[in-house]
Symmetry: C2
Subunit: 314 residues, 2 copies
């Protein structure tokens, strides 16, 4: 079996100019769950493919994902990622832009190494996915300026920004292994649901996570009035009195008091339970789709992963 | 014959979210010489290929080139491009980053439409070229912090940053038309020389250009002590007295006085003549390589282009 962690670690960034490549090494060696390449390799195994054939695409997806983090961190002015300084803090913004660009190119370089007869479709899907991720990021930005964001719009945004990458990882692995078309679609849809569950969980952890295990500060989304699943649900479910209080907390300056006040309001409206239910539902949908696919250790692995993501604390 | 200007104009950017796509339309509709796609189509014609087959790669190269301008303008804090506000001035930096990213993806999407049997090599070359351009940009940044940049290093930097894109446009067009390997190499090398001539000319125009036709302010490179072909040549050729005066002008605050002083010193050292000679030499090399290739209207077109670039004023 391919060890994705050592495969990523063995990518060579020692070349010149180091001003370009050192930040890439720094980013890719920060660890992380390597969820996306794992999904690609697991889907490949599920359909009896050779993991080596899916490895270039798996690596491409991980490098691309990390590229998006680099540029997103600049755009969001994020200072910490995986417990370390972000690249634009450690170096500068120009470095994040240029090394990020180079990471996208590296992703395409890796992708071009998939078996030749699979290249065309793999590349087309990758391009569609990459575009959808940029569109999702743009909607995320747009939503900051809008007060009328509907919950369905938010779901569509996180589908684009988070889900399509997981879905495409699964579909690409399955396709490279020679899975039938309907199975490719089913595993893609499975990834969409996993991604939605993952992102709603992310929103939940921002408020209800354990600061010791979460890795980021609790309440970050609350402080910047980010329109998360929790906030949009609270707004939709609040009664008139609660809505007035919500509006007041939104005007409140960032800080401990605001976090405590908003959390208490979320508790009162029952937002946590609603979010947990949505996560459980998307996880169930994903598991249901897995039942329609070949049953083997790979399918079991994805089941465990789905359950682990549902109960994750970081 | 394919009209590259209308082919670029007909790319559709009316889709949502407009926050992502409007800056791309703005960038690609700013005009410009469309030099890179012209090179790809011309090389294709030279070897009897169908221009339609080379069009996706030609468009990909133009979109990629414009992507690099978008990100470079952010990194350089440039405010004007082709006589209009740059994207980060008209919108903001985050827009330049994200719409730029999407342009790179669009370039790959266009590239994936080249004839299937030509995709693998075209993609591999494109990736190599894209990486070299990023490396060139990084060296350009690195050189700002270094006082010991050698002229050869500068030439290597502009080869990466400017030449490989022209060279790859020519090679890709020739390859898609079915040109023999040696001809692909010759036309690539021709592009390298054209690019070096182009960039040295750019350095020259910054000082000796006509502000009415140049489109940018004269003396921009002088004001920021940019290590151009002119400055590095001046430093290498200056006698001891001139070197002291050069060092003083470099410490001088940006402005009219500095531009006039440095230009007078360049005149005295004879930098203009040396640069013009280098441009003529690279143009001659390019023309010599064209003589080894099939002789037809496409070859003539490239000859005219080489001469036009040598004598360009903008």
């Amino acid at each position: 079996m391919v060890d994705i962690h050592s495969a990523i670690a063995s990518l060579d960034w020692s070349k010149e100019p180091q001003g370009l490549y050192a930040p890439i090494a720094y980013t890719l060696r920060a660890g992380g769950k390597r969820l996306r390449p794992q999904l690609a390799l697991t889907a490949c195994r599920m359909f009896g493919g050779r993991e080596e054939d899916a490895l270039p695409a798996a690596l491409a997806l991980e490098v691309f994902h990390n590229f998006t983090l680099l540029h997103d961190d600049v755009m969001d002015h994020a200072e910490v990622r995986r417990g370390r300084e972000t690249v634009h803090v450690r170096w500068n913004e120009n470095t994040s832009i240029l090394s990020g660009d180079q990471m996208m190119i590296e992703a395409y370089r890796l992708l071009s190494q998939v078996p030749a007869d699979k290249l065309h479709k793999t590349l087309r899907w990758f391009n569609e996915m990459a575009t959808e991720i940029c569109e999702g990021q743009q909607y995320d930005v747009d939503f900051e300026q809008r007060e009328d964001v509907r919950l369905e719009e938010y779901i569509e945004m996180i589908r684009l920004k988070t889900s399509v990458l997981l879905a495409n990882a699964l579909r690409t692995g399955a396709y490279i292994a020679g899975a039938p078309d309907e199975a490719q679609q089913a595993i893609y849809d499975c990834g969409i649901h996993l991604g939605l569950a993952f992102q709603i969980q992310d929103d939940l952890l921002d408020v209800y996570g354990d600061p010791k295990t979460f890795g980021k500060a609790i309440g970050g989304d609350i402080c910047c009035n980010k329109k998360t699943y929790l906030l949009l649900t609270a707004r939709d479910r609040a009664d008139e009195v609660q809505r007035t209080r919500l509006a007041e907390w939104l005007k409140h300056a960032p800080g401990k008091e605001k976090i405590a006040g908003m959390t208490a309001l979320y508790d009162e409206i029952g937002v946590r339970g609603i979010a947990e239910q949505a996560i459980a539902q998307h996880t169930a949908e994903a598991l249901g789709l897995l039942d329609t696919l070949p049953q083997n250790e790979a399918t079991d692995f994805l089941r465990q992963l789905a359950n682990k993501l549902e109960n994750r604390t970081s």
